[in-house]
């Protein structure tokens, strides 16, 4: 079982603590930068919900494109981790901020850019009940 399990653990812990043990809908954004395996994530969430006694209805996973913006020249671009080698992609999978070690602004070459969206897993909406 890969590290999607630990992401799911953190997520369930938080959701149960903040919204209680009955969740009707859990909507998640899955930023493509982190190359999360959605099938494994969903499996982990369902398994952990059982372990933590969380009654979980619909779980909706939505892909979010990774978009970066250069802090130096303002250029905005879409980033596809599929263009990276396997080893680098795996490093970013564990630690998305590692992308700053491997990527530069395609226009001016600066490493000073921000991840506008699509970093990794985020809670978009929780409907208790």
């Amino acid at each position: 079982m890969v590290h999607e399990w630990s992401l799911a653990e953190a997520l369930l812990r938080y959701v149960a603590s903040v919204y209680g043990p009955r969740i009707k809908t859990l909507k998640l954004r899955v930023g493509v930068l982190q190359s999360i395996d959605k099938e494994v994530l969903l499996f982990s969430i369902r398994e952990l919900a059982g372990l933590y006694n969380v009654s979980l209805g619909d779980v909706v996973l939505e892909d979010e494109e990774a978009v970066f913006k250069c802090n130096r020249c303002g250029y905005e671009w879409s980033f596809n981790p599929g263009d990276l080698g396997e080893e680098v992609r795996e490093s970013i999978h564990f630690l998305p901020e590692a992308v700053f070690a491997y990527t530069r602004c395609p226009r001016c070459g600066s490493r000073d850019f921000k991840v506008v969206k699509g970093r990794g897993l985020e809670v978009a909406e929780v409907v208790p009940g």
């Binding site: 079982m1 890969v2 590290h3 399990w5 630990s6 992401l7 653990e9 953190a10 997520l11 812990r13 938080y14 959701v15 603590s17 802090n71 490093s91 970013i92 564990f94 630690l95 998305p96 901020e97 590692a98 700053f100 070690a101 491997y102 490493r111 000073d112 921000k114 991840v115 970093r119 990794g120 897993l121 985020e122 809670v123 978009a124 909406e125 929780v126």
Partner: protein, 246 residues
């Protein structure tokens, strides 16, 4: 739309499962934080404790240099998270393994995200002692640790006897106290024990000193160097005090 960092509770759970987590801090640069955190953790492990070291100096990690570890060779085992790598008996994590030791320029919010992401995926099961190395200053990593994780970590403040360093860490200690941390440990590095009296105050536990040693570079850079370091007993004396504290 809700934008939440859902990792915080999980990170607290992880650190609470460790018997004692020490965060090695100093507002002053160059006082030996990385050396101290690396050697305390390594000697604790060598003495039979289940000890770990996590380097949270994301933009300039250096504990791997102290321990003589090539970050490009570090491989973490993945099983419902990632297990720290074994360096001798020490369980070790460095962000340099994810960057292959390339420069990692990060602005503040990215430091915070990296910190919570990294700790949240770590498998710290069964650890008795965890040492966390931090960069100098009082910035993002420190704010996150002090204000969000203060209840589950114990600060070990490092200073040299230099008035510049002492003055700087006094401000840090004041901030730690303000934020509710009542138990602060202090280590005097490159000194002779004179700060024991200077910091004789309620709430501060002086753990000891490590003397200045001109050949100290021979104490780092490989596990053999670390094992044979002539100052080892000074570090071990500090380990003993940490292990025996309640």
């Amino acid at each position: 739309m809700v934008r939440l960092d859902f990792r915080i509770l999980h990170v607290k759970d992880k650190l609470m499962a460790v018997k004692k987590t020490y965060v090695v801090l100093s507002s002053k640069g160059g006082v030996g934080k990385s050396t101290l955190s690396s050697l305390l953790a390594f000697y604790a492990a060598e003495r039979g404790a289940s000890a770990g070291l996590v380097d949270l100096d994301f933009t300039n990690p250096s504990t791997h240099i102290v321990l003589g570890v090539d970050p490009r060779e570090v491989r973490y085992v993945e099983e419902k998270g990632i297990f720290p790598a074994l360096v001798g008996k020490l369980r070790y994590v460095t962000p340099a393994a994810f960057t292959r030791d390339s420069p990692l320029p990060l602005r503040g919010e990215n430091v915070s995200r990296a910190l919570f992401e990294l700790i949240s995926i770590l498998r710290l099961d069964g650890l008795d002692y965890l040492f966390i190395d931090t960069p100098p200053g009082m910035s993002d990593e420190h704010m996150d640790i002090v204000y969000r994780l203060g209840e589950v970590v114990k600060p070990v403040v490092v200073t040299t006897p230099s008035p510049l360093s002492v003055s700087s860490v006094r401000k840090m200690i004041s901030l730690l106290r303000e934020s509710g941390l009542r138990e602060i440990f202090l280590v005097e590095n490159m000194g002779g024990g004179g700060l024991a009296d200077v910091f004789k105050e309620p709430g501060i536990t002086y753990l000891g000193y490590v003397p200045f040693y001109p050949g100290f570079d021979n104490c780092i850079g490989s596990l053999e160097n670390v094992r044979r370091c002539p100052l080892r007993s000074f570090f071990e004396s500090i380990v003993d005090k940490l292990v025996s504290e309640g």
